[in-house]
Structures are given as structure tokens and as C-alpha cells.
Symmetry: C2
Subunit: 199 residues, 2 copies
């Protein structure tokens, strides 16, 4: 008897189940976090480029045994690695501006943003590849400048050009932050795509 | 009259619309393409590491004005950049083995693979960052070896150590291919996630 009564008791309660909540406005959360990261990306890439470009330092080198000195400058564009670095970070800076504006347009006018997320996820990865390789290139050359390489008689230069080296080091460190931001942005885009798949 | 007839004529045709096709077996296509790319990734990273590690070359340098010569070796581990390169490519090689096996397990036993795709998409990006930075680091140092840098008196060494330089150049070129494969793999994972979102 008890087993036949139970369905009768439950039947009305089933009809009282509230309707499922409306689907949450897709993309707003992830896009808001994304915009914050993209603004940070803009700041890091811009600062990195500025610090690298303003790294000029001129030292007066004296001819041994005399008072005759001549100025020897150290500039970032003496090294192809640093030129590539500035070019790559500039591209990333420009990219961060475009994607920040695109993200803002989604936040203020929440239309179907799934395709934009796909584009973000793909482009973030490409820009990450460029920024990571540029950071590596500049880092490899800067390390030789810092430590030298006795095997091939490449002398360190950071004992003479301290300001130049501090600029280069800071710039590379900031671009490493930019690369980490791009990894996080790429993960955010991917996870927000994953979040839209019905489980 | 004609306008009221039309709905009557269309009504039966609507009921004859065939049912929608069954959902396609998710993941198999993308995972098959992915496995091919991951096997290629394994091959490129392995070859890149082997070519770099076997780049040793020894030259006999003669003291000027005499017949006394002594051997001067060039090895990849004379440069921290190349050591980092070998470590990073080894990690990528190991990663390619694990993900190939994981992809194969999905192909032969097609269970819900969405979460695996998410993990792939995230890890591919991380490994891409490592491989791209390693390629950049080794490339920056190798370029100095090839061209030298007159501003800081770093002499080129590739005119003496031709075999060593050919090995290093080939290794870096192959690792560039590995980085491109990782970009493509990351895009494949992302697009296959996007493909599962109901439009």
C-alpha cells in the first residue's frame, strides 16, 4: 500500500517544480576577466617596448695610456635580436588594443559571441608564439651580454654598460609577463568555449 | 484565393521533412587528425634534439707562426641557450608521446572526450610557449655565431665550425616546424571544442 501511495503523493509536487532558470548571459563573465587581462597585456607590451627602445647608453672609452677618449654608444638596434623583440612586442601591443575593443563591444552589446571567442582563442595562440620566441631570442642574447661566453671569446658587456643592461633585462622580464598573460588569455578563451558545450 | 491555398499545399510537405541526421560521432575526426600531427610532433622534436646533441665538432687550431696545434672542440653544451633548447625540446617530445597515446585511447574507445580536448587545448599552448621560446633563444645565439656582432666584438664562429653550425641551424629549423605543429594542434583542439557547441 505504501509503495502505491508514494507516486500519488509525488505526482502533484512534480508539477510544482519551478521552470529551469533562463540560460545565463553567455560570455559576459569571461569577457570581463578577458578585458582586464587584455588591458594588462597592453600595458606590459607597451612598457616593454618603451623600456627597450630607451635603453641607449654612451660610454667614453679612453685609448690606453692617453687622455684621448671617444664615445661608444650601446643601442638596442645594434642587435637584430632586440630589433625582432621590439617588432614582436609592438605587434602584441597593437593586437591587445584591437582585442580589448572587441571584448568591450561584446560586454556592452551581448550578441552571440561564440565565434569571437574562437577567433580570440586562435589568435591568442599565434601572438603567444611570437611573443615567447621574441622573449627567448632577446633573452639568449642578453644572457651572453651579461655572462659572456669564454668558449668563443664573446666578452660580457654588462660590466661596462650597466644602464643599457638594466633596461634590456627589465624589458625582457616584462615581456615574459606578457607571454604569461597571453597563456592565461588563451586558457580563458578555451575554457569559456568549453563552458558553452552542453554537458 | 491563391493566398489561402498556399498554406494548405505546404502543410503536408512540412510533415514529409526527413528527421535530422543523428549527431556525428564527436571527436573521432579531430582526434585522428590530431594523432597524425602529434606523431609528426614527436618526430620533429626527437630529430631536433638528436641533431643538436650530435653537433660536436673539433678543430685543430695552430699557434700562429708555428706547427704546434691543439684541438678546440665546439659542443652544444658550451652555450646555456642550447642546453635550454635541448631540455625544452625533450619536454615537448615526451609530451607528444603522452598525448599521442591519449588520443589513440579516445579513437579506439570513443567515450566522452570533451574534457580531454580541453586539457589538450590548454597544454598545447603551454608547450608551444616553451618550444617557441627555446627556438628563439637558440636562434638568437646561433645568429651571432653565424654573423657575429661587430658592435660588441663578438666574432662569428661558423666560418671555422661549419659542421657544428649546420647541425645547429638544422636543429633550430626543425624545432620551428615543431612550434608550427603545436600552433596547428592548439587550433585543432580549439576548433573541435567550438564544433561541439550547439549553434
Amino acid at each position: 500500500m505504501a509503495s502505491t501511495d508514494k507516486p500519488d503523493l509525488e505526482a502533484p509536487s512534480k508539477s510544482e517544480i519551478p521552470p529551469p532558470p533562463p540560460p545565463r548571459p553567455y560570455g559576459v563573465d569571461f569577457f570581463t576577466v578577458g578585458v582586464a587581462f587584455r588591458v594588462l597585456l597592453f600595458a606590459t607590451t607597451l612598457v616593454s617596448v618603451i623600456v627597450m627602445v630607451t635603453s641607449d647608453q654612451t660610454k667614453t672609452i679612453f685609448v690606453p695610456g692617453s687622455n684621448i677618449g671617444f664615445p661608444v654608444p650601446a643601442k638596442f638596434n645594434h642587435s637584430p635580436a632586440f630589433i625582432y623583440f621590439v617588432a614582436a612586442l609592438s605587434v602584441a601591443c597593437f593586437y591587445s588594443i584591437i582585442t580589448t575593443l572587441a571584448s568591450l563591444s561584446v560586454i556592452f552589446k551581448p550578441y552571440s559571441s561564440t565565434k569571437l571567442l574562437l577567433h580570440f582563442a586562435i589568435w591568442d595562440v599565434l601572438i603567444l608564439g611570437i611573443v615567447a620566441s621574441a622573449t627567448g631570442t632577446a633573452g639568449g642574447v642578453a644572457y651572453i651580454g651579461l655572462k659572456g661566453n669564454s668558449h668563443v671569446n664573446w666578452n660580457k658587456i654588462c660590466n661596462s654598460y650597466d644602464t643599457f643592461c638594466h633596461h634590456v633585462e627589465s624589458s625582457i622580464f616584462i615581456s615574459l609577463l606578457a607571454a604569461i598573460l597571453l597563456v592565461l588569455l588563451s586558457i580563458i578563451s578555451t575554457v569559456s568555449l568549453y563552458d558553452r558545450i552542453p554537458k
